[in-house]
Each structure stands twice: as C-alpha cells, then as structure tokens.
Symmetry: C2
C-alpha cells in the first residue's frame, strides 16, 4: 500500500527543479534548487527544508461533488505534466475555531473552491496533503501537476482561489513552481 | 499555550489506576496498572503502551450544536470527577472513503451521536483526540471524566452509541476504565 505520508524535501538534488519560490503572504521559506517527494515523515539529511503532509479523508466534499470530480480528475505522474506547483498554506486560528457547517459554507457556497478546481480538470492534477495535525508550520500542502501549455490556466485557477472569501482566512502562503528534470 | 498533542501512557505508574481494560471489538491492548496523560508525542520510557492523539478542529459539529454544547459542557479536571474512561476506536476503510455529507448523515441524522452525548452533559465531560493522521493504530481516542454517581449514566451513553448505525463502521474498540488515585 502506498504511504499516506509524504515529505516534500527542498535541497540540492531531486527530480524537480525549483523554478521560483516566493512568499505570497506571511513568512516565506528558504530558497532551494531542487525538490524531491519522499514517502514517510522521517527526517531527510542535507535538506534545506522538509514539509510533511498526510493524504486524508475528504473534509468538505459531498458525495455528488466527489463523483463529479472522480469522473474527470487525472492521476499524478502523467508524462506530459512537466510542470508542477507546491502551495503550502496556513489558515488563521479563527478559521479553525469555526464549526463544520460554517467552514463548508465559506469553502464552497461562498468561495466555489471545489467548482473552481473542477473547471481546470483534467488539465491540472491535484493532490491535497494535511499538515496541521502533524504539528507542521503549514496547515495544508497542495501539489499540482500540469503540462506547460496549461501554465496560464493554472495561474488563473490560483488567482480565482486567492480572490475568494476563503482566502481571507489564509495568513501564510508560499508559491513554489517546478519543472521536471528527470 | 496548552499542547494540542497528548500521549496516553499505560504502565506501572500514573495518577489514574486502570480498573478494567477490555477489547470491545477487534484486537485489544496489553493490560497495565496505571495511566498517565502527557503533553506531546515523544516516546515515553517504560511504557507498556502509548497511544497518541491530537485535539483538532470540529469535523461534524455544526454551529448551532457547538453553541448548545458550549453552554453545558464542563471542563476536564473537576474535583468530583474521580472516574474516567479512555475509549480508543478505529473505523473501517469504507468509512474513510465516504464523502463528508455521507459521514455527517451517519454520525448525526442517523446515529444522533452529538445529541446522545449532549443528554449526559454536564455529568460526563469529554475530550476527543484524533489519531488516524498520526499513523496511530486507532483513529480516535476519547477521554471521559465523571463522578462515581454518574458511572451508570456513562454506561448507558456508551450502550446508546454502540447500538447506533455509526458503530457498524467501528472495527476495533477498547474500553479502559479508570479511577483517580492522586
């Protein structure tokens, strides 16, 4: 069985070259030249940084949405997907104190988070990792993969999410863009 | 700030004497004489077992329910609460593959999990720890505290939950009863 736990390791080597790394809001993280994804949470030697996450159950997605997503979402690792992005975000304490129905309403009824992502499927493959309950500095790590011709579409996707009411609760965000080198 | 991470440590010492420890379904855990709650997840020497959990955001509770609970739920550590229970449970893979609305419907609309717990407030104080995304053998650890005169009520609470549709998805459960010794 594939591990649910993944480490994103920034450092001198790895199959993904870091094309850009910038803080969108809040504190950034150090520059590194390459990224490697590793199974598990064990500390990696010679890492410039290591961000840990766990693939978990759905938190907001309803069954009708899950079905619609499953019909169009591609797997990771497509040969043509030579571009990737890693977007670590942290949400405010106020967000985490909200009840489940309040957070769902902000995520989807107000912000159309799921619907926006759906509009860029199957071009942009996506996998969400939860990090908050591992005691990590970010709450979520989202990993995206797409072909170079969909890079502009990916920018539009991020722009739509960042303009949504949900992003009022984001107090730290880093945007890391990558190109596959092997 | 209080740590969100807690270790429940079974072993030869601790402020809680283990009065009984039995498997309700699935594999049990070894007998131990005492229990100690420790902040953090670090491995404790001389532990017979150590179960780790994290206090996290609400997963199913809606705002109206949160408010109603907040109005009646007591703090942990009341002087009269000389009895406690630790109930580790694991849910099936099928449960974790359900969408959010499907799990919510089973938890509350079908099983009245929140309403059942509410009926025993303020007698039975309760705190939920999440363990699945820490890679732990159980998915949840729930800690309960109550005065000796509410022990029968606590048994009725557990009986009602175990008879609910939600418990069809529980494939491992251990029931640990405790008495405060210092």
């Amino acid at each position: 069985m594939e591990s649910r736990f993944t480490s994103f390791v920034g450092g001198p080597t790895g199959p993904w070259k870091i094309v850009s790394l910038r803080a969108v809001c809040g504190d950034g993280i150090p520059q590194a030249s390459h990224l490697e994804l590793r199974d598990g949470l064990n500390e990696v030697e010679d890492a410039t940084w290591q961000l840990r996450g766990v693939a978990s159950n759905l938190r907001y997605t309803q069954e009708s949405e899950r079905k619609a997503l499953a019909a169009v979402q591609p797997a990771l690792g497509r040969a043509e997907a030579r571009c990737a992005a890693l977007i670590p975000i942290r949400k405010t304490a106020a967000w985490w104190l909200l009840a489940q129905d309040e957070r769902r309403a902000i995520v989807e009824e107000q912000s159309r988070h799921i619907a926006i992502g759906m509009a860029y499927l199957p071009a942009v493959a996506r996998k969400l990792f939860h990090a908050r309950d591992l005691g990590e500095p970010f709450d979520f790590l989202t990993w995206f993969e797409f072909a170079p011709e969909h890079a502009a579409g990916f920018d539009a996707l991020l722009q739509a999410l960042r303009a949504s009411p949900e992003w009022d609760y984001v107090d730290r965000e880093v945007d890391i863009r990558l190109a596959r080198v092997r």
